[in-house]
């Protein structure tokens, strides 16, 4: 497991900025200035880009902004101004899909926006709730979007129908919605796996409710003595942690039965963690344990075996509103393809919806490094041998023909050659004979020699 880094930000003032710590040693790694995000308004896309919605406190002009920083770029060439997009209105909570393609944002007016991050296109904006949207969350497979509002409403939306360009202008209908919570929703999370996709929500009304994600059926209702402000589930999805307004954290088992179960009110907890003095704002699990952040200007790393605090990170610049845990390699790793983030559009442009989609094709890093080719000649050789033996193809016949022509040429050449030699020898013989006839008086020894030649030459 690689080392991880804890990224936190505050909503106190733009000056608070973003702080990055090494989670294992507590070392301060990086500080990114000018950022103030409301709760749930901070995330990391594909471990490469930090995105934060900005609230402008009273006195500032216009709406808020959404800023994004490329982590590696910032780490290496800092300081660097973020990419700031200005939506129509200030955005509070944001959420992104697993692959970082879509970014959803909710506004205090109850409107929600969905952007495509790479192209920056605003794909959809619609009114979700009457009250302010408090948190947003995508389901595990990124096919559903869940919004929770200030008045306790939860609505679940199908991304496919939301983004259906055929009815771009129409008001979409939620897959289901519920108003079981009596006060503001403060946390939403979904579990993985298709078989038990459940949604867990917590609210200031002090309850934590577990829902069937698709049908919106309430499966369980748990009542806590405090208003709940944050929830988290561990990697194995066994434990449910609920952070409360007075800084305590309750550890429960996340028991999701297979069947629908009617709810029972619970009144006690199994384990209570006391480590914070202020409202718990965010919690998450990482390799090292549980990280919790609070308004008491600190974040704690808990040992999940003994449930004791291993390390306390104190954030002098203000109460922590958001935290993200990223692998430290995000700061330095050279990605094959840099994840591209565009300026988010302010207004929807229906014509843009039809534009081409800018996309990386098969962005697997593996393929680029390992181009595999196959050797061909052996297979071809066997093929050609077959062809030759059976004379199946034109080419084979052609070669056979050429070979035999070549052979014939050779034979002709040889014949000619032999004939030439023959001729040559004949002339030699004739010459000899002539010699002998003209000079019959030559020595007998010579004659016998020539006779020998005569015998052997024909």
């Amino acid at each position: 497991m690689g080392r991880e880094a804890l990224v936190v930000c505050s909503d106190k003032s733009m000056g608070a900025g973003i702080t990055v710590w090494d989670i294992d040693t507590g070392d301060h790694l990086l500080h990114i200035p000018t950022c103030a995000s409301p709760p749930h308004g901070f995330l990391c896309l594909r471990n490469q880009v930090l995105v934060a919605s900005q609230i402008h406190k009273h006195g500032s002009v216009g709406g808020g902004a959404i800023s994004s920083w490329h982590l590696r770029k910032f780490f290496e060439f800092q300081p660097q101004a973020p990419l700031r997009s200005y939506p129509i209105e200030a955005i509070g909570p944001i959420a992104c899909t697993e692959d970082g393609v879509y970014l959803a944002g909710g506004a205090p007016s109850g409107n929600a926006y969905i952007w495509e991050v790479t192209g920056g296109r605003l794909l959809k904006n619609w009114s979700v709730h009457k009250k302010s949207i408090n948190c947003m969350e995508f389901s595990d497979d990124s096919s559903l979007l869940i919004c929770g509002s200030d008045d306790g409403m939860i609505s679940i939306w199908s991304m496919i129908s939301l983004l259906d360009i055929a009815d771009f202008g129409n008001l979409p209908a939620p897959l289901c919605s519920s108003s079981e919570h009596s006060s503001a929703i403060t946390g939403l999370l979904t579990t993985s796996g298709s078989l038990s996709s459940v949604l867990v929500s917590c609210s200031l009304d002090g309850t934590c409710k577990i829902w069937d994600l698709v049908t919106g059926t309430l499966l369980q209702n748990r009542v806590f003595p405090q208003s709940l402000t944050a929830i988290a589930v561990d990697g194995e999805e066994q434990l449910l942690l609920s952070g409360s307004a007075d800084g305590t954290i309750f550890v429960n088992l996340l028991n999701i039965g297979l069947s629908k179960v009617s709810y029972t009110v619970l009144q006690d907890q199994q384990l209570v963690l006391n480590g914070h003095n202020g409202l718990i704002t965010a919690m998450t699990f990482c390799n090292a344990g549980l990280v919790s952040a609070s308004e008491d200007c600190s974040a704690c790393l808990w040992d999940v075996v003994n449930w004791v605090i291993i390390r306390r990170f104190s954030h002098q610049k203000g109460p922590i509103t958001n935290l993200v845990v990223i692998p430290q390699t995000s700061l330095v790793k050279q990605y094959n393809r840099i994840f591209h983030v565009s300026l988010l559009e302010k207004y929807p442009h229906p014509s843009n919806l039809w534009k081409e989609i800018n996309t990386p094709l098969s962005p697997s890093s593996f393929e680029d490094d390992h181009v595999t080719g196959e050797f061909r000649s052996t297979a071809l050789l066997n093929q050609q041998i077959l062809d030759l033996e059976h004379g199946r193809t034109e080419a084979a016949i052609q070669m056979k023909l050429e070979t035999s022509m070549e052979n014939r040429l050779w034979a002709t050449r040889m014949t000619k050659h032999v004939m030439e030699i023959n001729k040559h020898l004949q002339t030699r013989l004739l010459d000899l004979m002539q010699c002998r006839l003209l000079r019959p008086d030559s020595a007998s020894t010579q004659m016998s020699k020539k006779l020998k030649v005569e015998y052997s030459s024909p």
């Binding site: 129908s161 028991n255 009144q267 039809w354 081409e356 996309t359 094709l361 052996t378 033996e389």
Partner: protein, 858 residues
Amino acid sequence: MAVFDNFINMYDIKLKPRLLRTLIKEHVPDEKHPFRNPSELSKVVSMIKTHKLLGESSMEATDKKQVEIWTSTVDAWVERLFSLVSSSMPDKRWAGICLLGVTCQECSDERFLASYSVWFHKLLSHIQSPGDCHFVKVASCASMSDLFTRLGGFSNVKKEGTSHAGKLIQYLLQLLTDDYSEAVWEGAVCLLLTIMTFFPSSIHRHYDSAEAAIASKIISRRSSVHMLKKFSHCLALLPKSRGDEDSWSLMMQKILLTINVHLNDAFQGLEDETRCREAVRLLVAPAKSHPPPLGGQNEASEKLKKRSEQSVISSISTLMLCCSTMLTNSYPVQVNVPVRPLLALIERVLMVDGSLSQSLLPLMTSMQQELICSQLPSLHLHSLELLLSIIKGLRSQLLPYAADIVRLIKVYLKGCTLPELRIQVYLVIKVLLISKGLGMVVYFAQEVIDNAIIDLDSLIHDIGNNASSDAYRKAPSESLLKSSRRKRKHGNRSGSFEEHNDSVNMEPEVFKKGRTSSTSLKIAALEAIECLLSVGGSLRSESSQAGNQKFWRSKIDNLLMIVATNACDGGWAKEEKSVFGPNEKTSSYADLQLASLRALLAALLSPVVRPTYLSQALDLFRRGRQETGTKLAEFCVHALLALEVLIHPRYLPLVDPSQTSINCISAGLNFKLPENKYSHDKKQNPFLVNDESWNQDGDETDYLLTNVEKNVNYPENPNETSGDPEVENIDPTVGSSGIKDSEEQEQQPAMAASDHFVMGDNKDAVMVDAQLSMENSPQENAICHSVNVGPGRTEEESANSEITPGKDFRVDKDDGLAARSENPIIFDSMKGKGSALELDDEGMDSFPDIIDAEPDSD
């Protein structure tokens, strides 16, 4: 060499040069003797490859002298090849070139890097000389391709490779444009593909001429389908040589335009004029000019006019294939994919079914219509493939178009009857479901199920109307059995199963054909269902908005069980090893059995309720396991493994005593809390009462129990157990607990009214231990494997109880455990895992132990 200079064994390094020398002497042709038997070469090659004769080094190559001998032998080998390559006899040249290609693959790295340039030029001379016969040219292309493939593996010679490849390109393009045989074209295209893959930038200078050469090959009608595929692949890779965004987009635009122009011709009279104008309008922005036609020449469209419909369609298919390849292959930079024109094109093709359009008077003779209709299925197939590539290429970015695609597929499925096309549609559905997840299931479930039922009809057909849910829901096992019995009879009658096939079947030809096609369709349908269940099995029955959708889950479960039973009823089919040639892709009956079992497993693993037909399914899997050596047996073993959790929910020891030092989260979360923590909590928590946990536990099991009972109609009469005297013992313990009154009162009636089962597979011994430890030191008890016992209630009684009026069950109140036992978390987490418990008699025996424990723990 000494006669008795023997080797150690067949791995001896001495053997290699000797063997190679023998090969050179006896099997490789030489200048002097005629080359009679080409099949000798294949022996030579296999010998070289098996023994790695050209490797020149070996693991145990310590003997320097041996290595030298080897090197010199390989030198001699290469020498011989050179003489062959420059021989005047074509067959010897051919042999030399082929062996040179093998040498490129097999020789050592050092030798290759030292001499590839020489080899390149030897081969090049044969590619560029016009006099060589085609056979030799093809072989040189292949050997050259091997050379570049090998070269591509070295990262330090990229530059040299590119410059070498650059020299070659023009000759290759010459080969393509000249009037050679198809084999030469193939060789040239393959070589071009290799170069494009490894040294793309070498084509940069010849980009336009390469495009022209390949495009003209695609558009002209003179190539076989096989070749067209290669050409299309080559065209698709071409933009990579430039590697910029514009080349890709331009190529895509040109191809789409060409396709649409061709379609205009082909579909004349079959579709509305508006549609074809629309298609082109989407492609070319109004302000912009048309891009130059594909391949750069206008004559292409001229030629087109004269050509038959058939070849038009085959070029369209090829170009579609090209688009697919472009979409699915990687590209160095991000590109703009024109999704809308692509989808419009697909829709345009899929919506043409060969019927003449109403608005137009018949412009088409029946002859023409016949021609186009004969070609339409292949066109549809290719557009579905293109659709698949779009889904693959764009991943989640396709989401805004997903609804469009679903609509298109829904409409298309209604009319589509050809099995091959339906298979492809199922494939598309599968990919859509997997990539778009739950949201897609919500959209698609009904469609998939309706269509799958139609396609699986013959497998469930005998059950007829009984299959509809109600009969099954009541007594599923019985009717299943009946159905299988009936099916068996039917099987005998029609001779439709393997066993009877050979003997009984009267018209084997016809029957087999029909069966084969529909078998693969059934497999596709089953796979789609399997996929649906895996992705969206959690969609509960009551989830549906519409009434007819209500019971799809139970319907599907039954369907799958019936299908699997019927498919596997006639015994296990043999896995046919391609008797009819390797190319023919046929699905055998064994594949169908496998697919049905796979779908069944998916249904079992994503249950909404405890599967009612588990035992039948298990029986199937167990029987399948017996088929030694088949894929089916392999799968059945896997299925049984996967189902084990469902059959016997176990409480695995979460702590491995031998590895207590593990310090990872997962371990930490599951392990019990440490003792100091426990006592700390105990002080803090006011609700620390021992009995409480038993109560809570009881509720949990209670719920599970009733649930189980409800689902399987557990035959045991609850009243039998409710009379158990031991049960009464519990009440006082409940009463003695220190919980808040309200809580207590809430609990008590339930306890009193309930009858008690004891559940869990824990050994008695463990339980006794647990009790003892509680007795001794309640604060320190270290029950690691918590005992899972408790009173149970039947459904009726729980309904009667006043605690949760109107609600069937009580939630497991895990939290209520507090920190009474040291490991409350573990306690419940285990229960969470074992969602459906089986009653078992052993557990009952252990009940008294608990009773004993109750007072002690106070």
